[in-house]
């Protein structure tokens, strides 16, 4: 029984990694070499947040660290800073994942939105503190807003496609484990 539970967890982790690499792969496709006026939502972050709020044991901190460090490297961001901020946010979410499940969805959304705003501001503030040249503020703000607005969509899709839903209190899986 413990064996089956462990397999389920590893399957979840594998799914998370595959999903994140697929998103990064799509981002890297050389479709758009023109500068844009708006930033598309950060889907890797969204998937991570949905997973952390609903299935915290499928996304261990080490895995999040590895995925985001790779994304930092591939997307030419300053390496490490965004990863550290995301790790802090997911840890906060993880300790509250039990209480997040019982509040209505709009409240969960609000909490996540506050988290995204906080790490985005902290990111920009730190970059300006160490005087790294930055992208225009409008781009960051549109990306932040779109990311927040896309959260329900990603939550719905991950519920429909991958079965990552908010477990009701005391809900058990097929083998009788508490979710």
């Amino acid at each position: 029984m413990a064996e089956a539970s462990r397999r389920r967890i590893w399957l979840g982790r594998g799914l998370y990694v595959v999903l994140c690499s697929a998103i990064m792969f799509l981002h890297l496709l050389p479709m758009e070499t023109m500068p844009r006026r708006w930033g598309s939502p950060d889907f890797v972050l969204l998937v991570t947040l949905v997973w952390t709020a609903r299935r915290p044991d499928h996304v261990p901190a080490m895995l999040i660290g590895a995925v985001f460090l790779l994304a930092d490297m591939l997307f030419h961001r300053p390496p490490g800073l965004w990863t550290a901020l995301v790790l802090v946010l997911t840890e906060v979410l993880r300790t509250r994942s039990r209480s997040i499940r019982v509040v209505p969805f709009p409240l969960e959304w609000f909490g996540i939105a506050a988290g995204i705003v906080a790490i985005t501001l902290a990111y920009r503030f730190t970059l300006s503190l160490v005087m790294v040249p930055q992208a225009p503020l409008g781009l960051t703000l549109t990306q932040m807003m779109l990311t927040i607005m896309a959260y329900p969509l990603v939550a719905l899709l991950s519920h429909l496609l991958f079965g990552v839903s908010r477990p009701a209190q005391g809900e058990v899986d097929a083998l009788g484990h508490r979710l």
């Binding site: 070499t33 500068p35 660290g65 997307f75 490490g80 300790t95």
Partner: protein, 316 residues
């Protein structure tokens, strides 16, 4: 059972908290290291990209091809209209071609009269664009040529027409091109008829701006802009684009390279420009030439013309 799970979910246990703290500090450490010693970390980054991205290539090529097919299909719908436009354009171009041929001949004659020697060492390597930067904040593309093909950091890249960017970051099999539109791109340029020097500064828009213009009154929209070769960064006289007046009343640049579809890029082998430091070094070498550095017999005619030119200058 339930007790077990409750224990395993005791996320606030001190050991776990310590580990997370160490992980976060490690990430911040990487960031600080990057800030302090950027070139080394960037080299590690180039190495990682060099490993990861080409392994995606088998999947990237068909997906990109498919997407381009779809956009091509959309353009088929406007085929008749396009055909008419192209025919009209072709008529125009024929006239221009005649003019260009005549000018080329005239140019060749004038060059011959003036004994002008063009830089013969400007050869290029062409690379295929593998991937873009993947985020709207950075404007760069990844080419499939790298250190293996002799690419060096800082070499200019262009598509067939105009300058597109410069190499920044070389891996074994891939290299990154920082496009002119990136926020950290700065290129010294000359604005053509007036000969004014300026810095072309990318700002993540389609039209980078021209900074540090000495006398803006002598510049008009439509002026040609070429690289100036200042600082030995780029070879001089590569076409960059045309001056336009932005909506913010600043001079900006419409780039000559077609940034909508960068598929192939030329990397120019930019040779180190000769520097003249000491006065008089141009007329006669300061130290007697080393016999080991004597030109080979094949290069002798070149040496002859050079010395001929030197005497001419001396006479004049």
């Amino acid at each position: 059972m339930a007790r077990d799970r409750a224990q395993s979910e005791d996320f606030v246990s001190p050991v776990r908290r310590l580990l997370i703290g160490v992980l976060v500090l490690f990430m911040l450490g990487i960031f600080l290291l990057w800030r302090i010693d950027s070139p080394r970390v960037e080299r590690v980054r180039a190495e990682i990209i060099d490993r990861v991205v080409p392994s995606f290539e088998w999947a990237m090529a068909p997906v990109t091809g498919l997407a381009n097919l779809v956009s091509d299909f959309q353009s088929y719908q406007r085929l008749a209209e396009q055909n008419r436009d192209l025919r009209r354009e072709l008529q125009d171009m024929k006239a221009w071609r005649e003019a260009a041929l005549q000018l080329e001949q005239e140019n060749a004659v004038l060059r011959d009269l003036n004994n002008v020697r063009l830089d013969p060492e400007l050869t290029w390597v062409t690379g295929v664009v593998l991937a873009d930067s993947g985020s709207p904040f950075r404007q760069s593309v990844l080419l499939n040529v790298g250190a293996r093909d002799g690419i060096l950091d800082g070499w200019p890249t262009m598509d067939g027409i105009g300058l597109a960017g410069r190499i920044s970051g070389v891996g074994q099999n891939s290299s990154r091109v920082l496009l002119l539109t990136d926020t950290s791109s700065r290129i010294p340029v000359t604005i053509q008829p007036s000969g004014q020097r300026a810095i072309l500064a990318g700002d993540n828009t389609m039209t980078p701006q021209l900074d540090f213009i000495e006398d803006p009154d002598t510049i008009r929209p439509g002026d040609r802009v070429v690289t100036s070769g200042d600082g030995g960064l780029f070879p001089a006289d590569i076409l960059v684009g045309q001056v336009v007046l932005g909506t913010d009343r600043r001079f900006r640049l419409r780039l000559a390279a077609d940034f909508e579809r960068l598929e192939f890029l030329r990397v120019l082998r930019s040779q180190k420009a000769e520097r003249i430091d000491a006065t008089g070094a141009l007329i006669a070498p300061v130290s007697p030439p080393d016999p080991a550095e004597q030109p080979e017999p094949a290069d002798l005619p070149e040496g002859d013309t050079l010395s001929g030119q030197a005497t001419e200058t001396g006479d004049g």
